[in-house]
C-alpha cells in the first residue's frame, strides 16, 4: 500500500514539475527543485483531504460511487472555481 502511495506521489510530482515548467516559461521566472517538491507535497496532501470529503459527500447521498456532482460540491466555496469545474465537467460529458 505504501509502495502504491509512493508511486502515486511520484506521478503527482512529475506532473507538478511539468505544470510549474509551463508557468515558469509564461512568467519568465524559474522554479527551484525544492519549490516543485513542496508544491507536489501540498497537492498530494490536499488530494487526501479532497478524497475524504468526496467520500463523505457520496455517502451522504447514499451512493457507493463518487461522481462529478461530488467534485462540484468540493468547489462550492469559490464561484470562479465552481464555474471552471462545471464547464470542464460539461466538456468531458460531451
Amino acid at each position: 500500500r505504501l509502495s502504491y502511495q509512493q508511486r502515486l506521489k511520484a506521478a503527482v510530482h512529475y506532473t507538478v514539475g511539468c505544470l510549474c515548467q509551463e508557468v515558469a516559461a509564461d512568467k519568465e521566472m524559474p522554479f527551484s527543485r525544492q519549490t516543485i517538491a513542496a508544491i507536489a507535497e501540498v497537492t498530494f496532501r490536499q488530494c487526501e483531504n479532497f478524497a475524504k470529503d468526496l467520500e463523505m459527500f457520496a455517502r451522504h447521498a447514499r451512493r457507493s460511487t463518487i461522481n462529478a456532482e461530488d467534485v462540484k460540491l468540493l468547489a462550492r466555496r469559490s464561484n470562479s472555481l465552481l464555474k471552471y469545474i462545471t464547464e470542464k465537467s460539461d466538456e468531458i460529458a460531451q
Partner: protein, 32 residues
C-alpha cells in the same frame, strides 16, 4: 498547482528574486 505556481512567480517578481524558492513559497502558502 497552477495557482501555487502563479502566486509563487508573482511573489518572486515582486521581490526581484532570481527564482521561485522557499522564501517565496512560505509567503504564499497561508493564503493558498
Amino acid at each position: 498547482v497552477v495557482e501555487a505556481a502563479v502566486r509563487g512567480a508573482r511573489q518572486a517578481q515582486a521581490e526581484d528574486a532570481a527564482q521561485v524558492d522557499m522564501e517565496q513559497l512560505e509567503k504564499v502558502l497561508p493564503q493558498l
